[in-house]
Amino acid sequence: MASKMKESDPILEVENLFASTDNLPILKGVSLTVYPGEIHAIMGRNGCGKSTLSKIIAGHPSYNITNGDIKFSGANINSLEPEERAQSGIFLGFQYPIEIPGVSNLEFLRVSTNARRKFLNKEELDTFDFEELVKEKLELVKMDHAFLTRSVNQGFSGGEKKRNEILQMALLEPKIAILDETDSGLDIDALRIVASGIKKISNAQTGIILITHYQRLLDEIEPNYVHVMADGQIIKTGGSDLALELEKKGYEWTDNFVKET
């Protein structure tokens, strides 16, 4: 990590994190610090622990932290429930957004937005006020109003699901957004819409972690830092040029790293 002094306090600090699922170690000492306004990219092969890291930060119950800490705005959140983390401003954009039959997207978005607003001591929105807000945010991701009346993600195309994720991010205004392979399965137009949505939502106060395999998202959103993960660890950190290097070299060399350790 860059060693120069930062002006503000970090949003997220992951300190020497070890985690496992079903007694199988997945993370083996990950450290990562995100300051306001920063964009981090985490890259690596499938199974290197990228997605697990994002789920653990969001509080997925299937993983156990065996060592290390996750701090959010300076406070340890290791034992917080997922909803508490979300309310306080941690957002996870899912690689595979989940379908929830029977629950209307609009109602889901409203309940979720209000949960966050309640935490921020903001007035909760009734259906009418929420309609106004959501209309404005739909513009950001170029989604049609008809999406709202459907069940959450049900029957959505891959691209629609991803845009729905960004819509949620826009409504929840998180302090940190971890976007897990938001670019996968998107055609180039959809990718641009999603990327421009992310850029509009983020600002000098927010932190973003992009988890991706590919350079093409990073062409749209330039990261301050690129981290390479292998076998549950961050094995290399660099600037945005590291991603370009990966694009050229591929990930094979990271396997060698794994063998060495």
């Binding site: 509080g59 119950p61 979300a86 629950v103 309940v111 949960a115």
Partner: protein, 480 residues
């Protein structure tokens, strides 16, 4: 797992209707024989035709075997170990509510069914049944002004004997099935409704059934008659104390709709379900059937079944009248070791008859939840149609859900459509909602009510809200 404890913590609320009212009761001795039946009939000062009806039913019952085709597992019921009549002691003749034992009024107060003049619900008339007898019926005068009769069936036997003699047992004959025969022999009370020709009942009618004694069965009988071009909406609620023994509840409900009449019958059944180990709880073996006798008549059943250790019921419609309509909307939720075998029978006899079945079964814990239904098109049911949709939701990985749709058609010029689906609440769905700031129990209840929406939309408004809450409560500790 973290999640499991969490559910227990947040959603765990004890069965809040589990209290027992300490009241002096008049009970007859345990056991069942001809003398028991004569005694019940005598206590109720019944006419001879009714005693004969009972005795005939009893003879029939003695020749019948307890059914086992539903494959429900339970300990053999000892019919000689049940008290067939149990009534709170009160003055001989009660002329007004002021004379009802305050303890009884308090009980219904506690259940959210205030009966006294000052507190009674403003838009619903209530018949309150406590163990074997009806305690009070509200709004009787107001209803009488419209010619609507709403009283206990015992009173109807005394005051409207002609109607009872004409209709009792015409929809569910005493010989219909084992439990209907038993009920016909020993029924003690229940509600009676008569809506005269052309009258739209000015308010919802409701019966509230309360079992208080642990060792007596409840065998109520409800009869609703809607004359030509009349309509009524009837609601039924049920609760019982927590006992570690099983209590038998074998009711019979008969509905009759004449030309252009409509009856809407809604139930929220929340009998005590037994504890997590399956100890105690009500055996709810009920026969409910409606007869659409008249042309264009309509009978609509909606039910939310959440209680009872075992539920065995199939509210059905006999569609005789031309262009008559039968509906069945059901949500059945089982948790822990509950077993529910419920569904409907739509028997299309007349031409151009229509029926709709929407069933939502939710099984959690180690429970078994089955939909069992029959759609039958008779030889004369030309141009008749049925649409059935049966969906099951599984919560956790120990519960089971079954669908047994039986379809019989003797009429090629009729349509039957059946759709079925099964889904489950997965950990991933819960995590997804939680990761958007939605509390765990709200997440479950969102998904469950989303699943049940089609049925809840059919319930009277106050029932729908209650049903929503009830489902959330019932799911305690059910997701791992």
């Amino acid at each position: 797992m973290v999640n499991e404890n969490l559910v227990e913590d947040v959603v765990k609320e004890p069965y809040k209707y589990g209290f027992v009212t300490d009241i002096e009761t008049e009970k007859i001795a345990k056991g069942l024989n001809e003398d028991t039946i004569r005694l019940i009939s005598q206590k109720k000062e019944e006419p001879k035709y009714l005693l004969d009806f009972r005795l005939k039913a009893f003879k029939k019952w003695q020749t019948m075997d307890e059914p086992d085709w539903a494959g429900l597992g339970y300990k053999q019921i000892d019919y000689q170990d049940i008290i067939y009549y149990s009534a709170p002691k009160q003055k001989e003749k009660i002329s007004s509510l002021d004379e009802v034992d305050p303890k009884l009024l308090e009980t219904f107060d506690k259940l959210g069914i205030p009966l006294t003049e000052q507190k009674k619900l403003t838009n619903v008339a209530v018949d309150a049944v406590f163990d074997s007898v009806s305690i009070a019926t509200t709004f009787r005068e107001e209803l009488a002004e419209h010619g609507v009769i709403f009283c206990s069936i015992s009173e109807a036997v005394k005051n409207h004997s002609d109607l009872i003699e004409k209709y009792l047992g015409t929809v569910v004959p005493a010989s219909d099935n084992y439990f209907a025969a038993l009920n016909s022999a020993v029924f003690s009370d229940g509600s009676f409704v008569y809506i005269p020709k052309g009258v739209t009942c000015p308010m919802d009618l409701s019966s509230y059934f309360r079992i208080n004694s642990g060792d007596s069965g409840q065998f109520e009988r409800t009869l609703i008659i809607a004359e030509e071009s009349s309509s009524v909406s009837y609601l039924e609620g049920c609760t019982a104390p927590m006992f570690d023994t099983n209590t038998l509840h074998a009711a019979v409900v008969e509905l009759i709709a004449l030309d252009d009449a409509s009856i809407k019958y809604s139930t929220v059944q929340n009998w005590y379900a037994g504890d997590e180990e399956g100890v105690g709880g009500i055996f709810n073996f009920v026969t409910k059937r409606g007869k659409c006798l008249g042309k264009r008549s309509k009978i609509s059943w909606s039910q939310v079944e959440t209680g009872s250790a075992i539920t065995w019921k199939y509210p059905s419609c006999l569609l005789l009248g031309e262009a008559s309509v039968g509906e069945f909307y059901s949500v059945a939720l089982t948790n822990n070791l509950q077993q529910a075998d419920t569904g409907t029978k739509m028997i299309h006899i007349g031409p151009k008859t229509k029926s709709t079945i929407v069933s939502k079964g939710i099984s959690a814990g180690n429970s078994i939840n089955s939909y069992r239904g029959l759609v039958k098109m008779g030889t004369k049911a030309t141009g008749s149609r049925n649409y059935s949709q049966c969906d099951s939701m599984l919560i956790g990985d120990q519960a089971s859900a079954n669908t047994f749709p039986y379809i019989k058609s003797q009429q090629p010029n009729s349509e039957i459509e059946h759709e079925a689906s099964t889904c489950s609440i997965s950990e991933d769905q819960l995590f997804y909602l939680q990761s958007r700031g939605i509390e765990f129990e709200e997440a479950i209840s969102m998904m469950v009510s989303g699943f049940c929406r089609d049925v809840f939309n059919q319930l009277p408004m106050e029932f729908a809200a209650e049903a929503d809450k009830l489902l959330a409560l019932k799911l305690e500790g059910s997701v791992g």
